[in-house]
């Protein structure tokens, strides 16, 4: 079991209120991603749940039990850190076995659990090595192994992939998702990378300045962003936010158009503009267009679209997929 409830949780460092007040419900077995720009309080929130920081106010419940005043080890959670935080002087085997040794588990049981975890994570051949002799991806797997053997009620991941290169990040992302499918344990995952958020999460929590902007499934956030912040943050390349005459004609202060929601043409369309940069990826084409009377607009289309720097092209936004926002930046 691993349901977690945050009730009116706040955190201040001295004068600075990092988290004003947060209420959040995480159900057992959910994969929840905290996402937001750096300094939004997502790591702090995770550390509050872990018990590595004391809350300034509010309560944290795990499976209905108040753990607000409990030490990290007594909360039954396991954490994977950004820097892996492996014990450099111990072999892989001892790193994975460490939490079990601390819990004074029987040696035969430790050996069994370590070899099971090593099997799941493809580390069997590396058990006698030191962390310094492993690659970044292997180190991260050891850190995950150390978390698995404790059989925690929830896993906490603090930007676990940000030290890896792009290719490896993709593989590890899949591995963590697979692990979640296999273990079905609650996972809370902190990242600033919205691709990780979109691909892995059952539920995304978008944070900004210590406040929750929106909670929802990846596609909910994509198709129904609650406000301008979420609209601009979720989706890559980011949504075009257009003000002025066009927005007023739609009865809004700001209108959002996702780059993929344009019909592009060389001949005709609602807007016309000059291509400033064209990025041809084969599978997609990204165009940065200076649209007359509107300004800079990003557009994306599937496959190849033959346009180069300086070409005039025509764009028509898909009327059914417009996002409208009022004066306060809230979705209409």
């Amino acid at each position: 079991m691993g349901s977690i409830t945050l009730s009116n949780v706040s955190k201040s460092f001295g004068e600075a209120k990092v988290i004003p007040s947060i209420d959040l419900e995480i159900r057992d077995g959910e994969f929840v991603v905290f996402v937001g720009p750096s300094g939004c309080g997502k790591s702090t929130l995770l550390r509050l749940i872990a018990g590595l920081e004391d809350v300034s106010g509010g309560r944290i419940l795990i499976d209905g039990q108040d753990v607000t005043q409990k030490a990290p080890a007594q909360r039954g959670l396991a954490m994977v850190f950004q820097s892996y935080a492996l014990y450099p002087h111990m072999s892989v085997r001892n790193n994975i076995a460490f939490p079990l040794k601390m819990a004074k588990v029987d040696k035969a049981v430790i050996d069994k659990k370590v070899s099971d975890a090593a099997g799941i994570l493809n580390l069997t051949d590396y058990l006698e090595r030191r962390p310094s002799q492993l690659s970044g991806g292997q180190r991260q797997r050891v850190a995950i192994g150390r978390a698995i053997v404790r059989e925690p009620s929830a896993f906490l991941f603090d930007e676990p992939l940000s030290n890896l290169d792009a290719a490896l990040r993709g593989t590890m992302r899949l591995e963590i998702s697979e692990l979640h499918n296999q273990l079905k344990t609650t996972m809370i995952y902190v990242t600033h990378d919205q691709v990780e958020a979109m691909t892995m999460a059952d539920k995304i929590v978008v944070l900004n300045r210590g406040n929750i902007e929106q909670v929802g499934s990846p596609l909910e956030l994509y198709s129904k962003p609650r406000n301008l912040f979420v609209a601009g943050f979720i989706g890559s390349p980011r949504m075009n936010l257009i003000e002025g005459e066009f927005a007023r004609s739609k009865g809004a202060k700001t209108v959002g158009v996702r780059p993929e929601h344009f019909a592009l043409s060389h001949e005709s369309g609602l807007w016309s503009g000059i291509v400033t940069v064209a990025e041809h990826l084969g599978s997609d084409t990204f165009l940065h267009v200076n649209v007359d009377g509107i300004g800079q607009v990003n557009a994306r289309c599937d496959g190849e679209f033959g346009a180069r720097h300086g070409d005039r092209i025509y764009l028509t936004p898909n009327e059914t997929k417009l996002h409208r926002f009022d004066e306060q930046g809230l979705a209409i």
């Binding site: 872990a50 080890a73 014990y87 002087h89 404790r150």
Partner: protein, 274 residues
């Protein structure tokens, strides 16, 4: 072309390095050379060619006992270092892992005591030593050496401990380690190289300390520094014998330094170049 420049640069750099090393090492070299000259040769003026006599070493050993001050040096430097570590490790620990607003000030204050000229406190310390019966005792001198080197010990250890990533300690906490287990299984093994470097450097500093060792001892607790100084009095200066005594005094620490140089260099540059 590029290659020729590189080679020439290398030659120049190597030559410069040797020149600087020679300048630094020259006093020790000249002491060595003088120690195997005869007394008339030694006062005759600058010369790099000795007659190669080992008579001075024999005289030094027969005139004055070498073993006793040598043992004193060993006991004082090792003893004061252990004392300094016993006090320094917990202090540095506390400052590195649970710093307060005043931690930086405390560190600066400790370092500032090293900026004070020692002679300024000579009289009060001498009087205190006299009143407590610590003059010319090993325990008194060991306490003195501990105190004067403690700021450096704490600073070095503090720098090492600061290098241990906080996340590793947090991981240990998440893994269920209590404070004691955290210290025994995680912190200490990771800090061992730093503690070893501090230990080595402090032994060298204590071995070479000559201001207090000469002033607070006469015979019983006199280490090798006092042993050397005793050759500059009272019948006048005997350069060759003085050099022989100096050579014997620095030899042990030079040999120790040679074998531990890797650890020392790592220790001294740790934190600065990482």
């Amino acid at each position: 072309m590029a290659r020729a420049v590189t080679t020439r640069h290398k030659v120049i750099a190597t030559a410069a390095a040797w020149a600087v090393a020679l300048v630094i090492f020259f006093p020790i070299l000249y002491t060595l050379i003088t120690s195997i000259k005869t007394e008339p040769e030694a006062i005759a003026g600058f010369s790099l060619i000795p007659s190669g006599t080992f008579e001075n070493y024999v005289t030094v050993q027969t005139q004055r006992d070498y073993i006793k001050p040598f043992m004193n040096s060993v006991i004082l430097s090792v003893g004061s270092t252990i004392l300094a570590l016993i006090i320094g490790i917990p202090s540095a620990w506390a400052m590195a892992f649970s710093p307060t607003k005043r931690t930086k000030d405390v560190l600066m204050w400790m370092l500032s005591t090293k900026m004070m000229p020692a002679v300024a406190v000579l009289v009060p310390i001498y009087l205190m030593f006299r009143d407590f019966g610590l003059l010319d005792t090993r325990i008194g001198l060991a306490i003195m050496l501990t105190l004067i080197n403690l700021p450096i010990v704490i600073w070095m250890l503090y720098t090492y401990f600061r290098e241990i990533p906080g996340e590793i300690l947090e991981a240990a906490r998440m893994d269920g380690a209590g404070l004691w287990q955290e210290i025994v299984y995680v912190l200490t093994p990771m800090a061992v190289p730093g503690i070893a470097s501090t230990l080595l450097l402090n032994i060298i500093l204590a071995w070479n300390e000559s201001f207090w060792t000469i002033r607070l001892t006469t015979t019983n607790a006199a280490p090798l520094t006092a042993f050397i100084a005793s050759f500059s009095s009272p019948q006048g200066l005997f350069w060759a014998k003085l050099s022989a005594a100096s050579t014997m005094a620095i030899a042990p620490i030079l040999i120790m330094g040679w074998f531990s140089q890797k650890q020392l260099v790592r220790g001294l540059t740790f934190g600065a170049v990482k």
